[in-house]
């Protein structure tokens, strides 16, 4: 089957099976590997991307759902790590193993796009679905709060 959608602002066409899913298409067919696989069942958020600007768990998103839509991945968030969250993430030295961080940043970016000045409670509520085994939560909070103040 042919699937067409906008990926990081460029139109793409992918040939894939009927049951193709968004996560594995990004990672294996399009070789955009910044989006990670963590649980496959919408419990960890490592696979978070934006679909028409809204955060979705790509591991449970059939590729057919992306057709005609805009998909943004960590690779498309900025060209040069210049998104304010990426800047804050570096300033606060957030990542440890780093595996969850694409999902964390994409989830946070969706929040700030909608609510540029969230309070702590709102941040926690919004970010709670993205797991970090390395325990970087407090730094993530700090980086988001810092960015929110600047925006």
């Amino acid at each position: 089957m042919q699937y067409s959608f906008i990926l990081n602002e460029k139109p793409v066409q992918v040939t894939a099976e009927e049951d193709a899913n968004l996560l594995w298409t990004l990672r294996e067919r399009l070789k955009l590997t910044g989006t990670k696989f963590g649980c496959g069942v919408s419990l960890c958020g490592a696979c978070t991307v934006h679909l028409d600007g809204k955060p979705v768990k790509s591991c449970i998103t059939p590729l057919s759902q992306a057709v005609g839509k805009k998909v943004t991945t960590i690779e498309g968030l900025s060209e040069d790590r210049s998104h304010p969250l990426q800047v804050a993430w570096i300033e606060e030295q957030v990542p440890q193993c780093g595996y969850c961080q694409s999902g964390q940043i994409m989830q946070a970016a969706a929040l700030l796009a909608e609510n540029p000045n969230p309070n702590r409670e709102e941040i926690i509520k919004h970010m709670n679905g993205v797991l970090c085994r390395c325990g970087t939560y407090l730094r993530i909070l700090k980086a988001i709060e810092k960015t929110a103040q600047k925006v």
């Binding site: 900025s78 193993c97 709670n128 970090c132 325990g135």
Partner: protein, 719 residues
């Protein structure tokens, strides 16, 4: 933009590729550094390097340890760069090739051991060697400049990538030296007195950013699952639900008939399916109908009954292995004025590193190429070579970033699987474990029962201490059971083991998690019983151990121990050592008595890690290990029923989410000139005790079985 790539595999290939620079090489274990120029490398054999210097000034330092989030790739390079006096802004870091004779360390820090990255040993183990190698690289550069300028080498000075001669005011950058540097016959071992004076350190003990962080905010850091090899196919495996059973596939025809399925591969412990794409591999795996044969030991294991078996074994006359012994416990304990006893329990727990296991393997006729995130670089290479009957050198392992290791990635089971499948289908294979695979075929931190007994003498002092750890996992049980910093005259600490036939493994801080929970909770119970302040009791016990005492005092001071605490909250304190580092913690908690939920508001922590190479990151490691420890203490439990793991994914094996993170974590590092010790696990061991102790202070009830789930809390509150 610059992308972060995995290591290039075998060094020889890399050296042939690099241009416009020189590489400093050490020829063999302990031998002096030599300097090679490009072009001379083609013939070089069995040699490897610590640093490559380019004419543009770029200094590439090779990282000998696995980077799994602990940040040692940065710290290790900083140690080398410090003594080389390199310009840190020009430093690049690449994973070293798998050559343990050069990049390995022994347990005493001697060169040429293993590249195994475990036990928080990277910085402590490599510290002296890297200072020496960095100083030798600097020596070689200075020698070249001295000869060129016709001056005495000793008159030359360096400053962050610059050589200068104060007498003549001449200057040259390291990059410019590449043009004319010659290979010295040998470079001597630099005496300690010629190493930098610590007060001149520009990196060690200072703050700088981690090298890997930028690559981890834009998705460009390469983990093994991110690798694509031309012609690569996808594999998934159904593994024995009960360890030791063998598979018999019932619907082979149906599976082979699935569009996209290329092959099936029988393994001893499971069946692999190979497909042209990931979705099909995963779908086919889910559809396999398998009967499991055999009657292995694990089949009779029910973990909730295990505590009774442990209880029985603790009462038997058979002694286990002695961890520590002093005085004469059997004589003195019965004489005690008062005896205090308590039992503690901890369930199995799972690593839950965020990146489920995976590997890319390409087995060819007489060689193999691998891409793996592993804590055991040379172990993986060796296991694969032995498995395939190949020479070590025929196995080219590209090491990648690890999406968490915590001990699980020191095993090579998942790599051997990928190798077996690649060999069977004669193609490069990406093997992907699902989260369910990763959890159910995990190798867990052992369950244990801890029996503690203390004898109090007529002066109210602890005169005897008996600690029996009973559990499974053998050698994993004993770590951290000893208490050398508590002066108790009569001690007996012992481990008794039952093998249940299930898989167990090191889990961040190993036995220190359960053992320090038991020990430090017990100390608290003794203090309450003796109507002593738990902080003061610890002070008395460690009064002859100034370093330990300073760490304990530090945290008490930070948290203002003894000052009033907001209504509805209470605090707990504990001390623990791990990998030579000393740490103490205090937490402040509240409890929702209707739901049984414990909320940890604040944690204070103090740490003595000797010389700390990268303080900002050291604190961060401690923060991460506190949070991971908190997760294990509050939520995590693996149970077995008839040998089968009962949990499968994050819905029934929850790990800590942001909402349960402490509101604030305050950490301080004690300045030290002692040798560096391991930091990556130091915050974890005291977590169980500080929470149990705070809970007791708040409610008067004692939590003695980890994890402290809401159900257990409610039960204890009702008791």
């Amino acid at each position: 933009m610059e992308k972060q790539l995995e290591s290039q595999g075998l060094s020889r290939r890399k050296f042939l590729k690099v241009g416009g620079g020189i590489t400093f090489l050490v020829t063999a274990v302990g031998l002096p550094a030599l300097v090679f120029k490009k072009g001379e490398l083609a013939e070089s054999k069995q040699i490897s390097a610590w640093v490559h210097l380019s004419s543009d000034g770029t200094v590439t330092i090779y990282n000998p340890a696995s980077e799994m989030g602990q940040g040692t790739m940065t710290a290790l390079a900083a140690i080398f760069a410090e003594e080389m006096d390199a310009d840190w802004s020009k430093v690049k870091i690449e994973n070293a090739p798998v050559e343990p004779e050069i990049y390995g360390i022994g347990w005493g820090g001697e060169r040429g051991g293993s590249m195994l990255t475990v036990g928080s040993r990277s910085v402590s183990g490599h510290f002296n060697n890297l200072r020496q190698s960095g100083a030798q690289a600097r020596y070689a550069l200075l020698s070249a400049v001295a000869e060129k300028w016709g001056v005495d080498r000793k008159e030359l000075k360096t400053d962050s990538g610059l050589v200068f001669h104060p007498k003549s005011n001449k200057k040259i950058t390291y990059g410019e030296i590449v043009e004319f540097v010659k290979i010295p016959e040998s470079v001597p071992e630099i005496p300690d007195s010629d190493l930098k004076n610590p007060k001149d350190f520009k990196l060690i003990g200072r703050d700088y950013q981690r090298y890997d962080v930028p690559f981890k905010v834009d998705g460009s850091a390469i983990y093994s699952g991110d690798i694509h090899v031309p012609g690569m196919v996808y594999a998934a495996i159904v593994r024995s639900p009960v360890n030791g059973t063998q598979p018999e596939l019932k619907n082979e025809t149906a599976i082979r008939g699935i569009k996209g399925v290329l092959n099936l591969v029988s393994l001893e412990h499971g069946i692999g399916v190979v497909a042209s794409n990931m979705e099909t591999a995963l779908k086919a795996k889910a559809m396999m109908e398998i009967t499991w044969n055999g009657d292995p030991k694990a089949k009779s294991h029910n973990s909730q009954d295990a505590y009774e078996e442990y209880e029985a074994l603790s009462k038997s006359s058979q002694t286990g292995s002695i961890v520590a012994q002093s005085g004469d416990l059997n004589r003195e304990l019965p004489k005690a004025q008062k005896t205090i006893r308590a039992d503690y329990k901890n369930d199995y727990i799972y690593h839950a590193q965020m990146e489920p296991l995976n590997a890319v393997a390409h087995v060819k006729a007489d060689s193999a190429e691998l891409w793996v995130g592993t804590q055991a670089a040379d172990g993986t290479r060796n296991d694969v070579a032995n498995h395939l009957g190949l020479d070590f050198k025929a196995v080219n392992l590209h090491t990648c970033y690890l999406g968490g290791g915590f001990g699980r990635r020191s095993m090579t089971d998942f790599v051997i699987e990928a190798v077996d499948i690649s060999k069977a289908v004669n193609l490069p294979v990406k093997l992907q474990w699902t989260r369910e695979d990763d959890l159910q075929y995990g190798a867990f931190r052992p369950i244990s029962l801890q029996k503690l007994e203390a004898g109090i003498d007529q002066n109210g002092n602890i005169n005897s201490w008996k600690h029996v750890v009973v559990g499974t996992g053998g050698g994993l049980l004993g770590s951290g059971a000893d208490i050398p910093f508590y002066d108790i005259p009569n001690k007996l600490i012992e481990v008794r083991n039952i093998d249940h036939g299930v898989r167990t493994k090191h889990w961040r801080a190993v036995g220190h998690g359960p053992n320090k929970f038991a020990i430090e909770t017990f100390v608290d119970e003794i203090a309450l019983e003796q109507k002593k302040d738990p902080y003061q009791l610890r002070r008395e016990l460690m009064k002859n151990h100034p370093r330990e005492l300073a760490v304990l005092d530090k945290v008490a001071d930070m948290a203002k121990w003894g000052s009033s605490v907001p209504e509805g909250r209470a605090r707990g304190i504990a001390f623990a050592e791990r990998s030579g580092s000393l740490a103490a913690g205090i937490c402040e908690i509240s409890v929702d008595r209707s739901t049984g939920k414990i909320k940890v508001h604040n944690i204070w922590g103090s740490l003595d890690g000797g010389v700390v190479v990268h303080p900002a990151n050291a604190k961060y490691q401690m923060e991460g290990s506190l949070v991971m420890g908190l997760s294990s203490v509050l939520f995590e439990s693996i149970t077995f029923k008839e040998g089968q793991v009962e949990q499968s994914n994050f819905y029934d094996y929850p790990i800590l989410r942001m909402e349960d993170a402490p509101e604030e974590i305050m950490l301080e590092i004690i300045p030290s000139t002692e040798k560096p010790t391991g930091i990556g696990e130091a915050g974890l061991p005291f977590m169980g005790a500080i929470i149990s102790n705070a809970f007791a202070a708040l409610t008067g009830k004692r939590l003695r079985h980890m994890p402290f789930t809401p159900e257990k809390v409610l039960e204890v509150l009702a008791s």
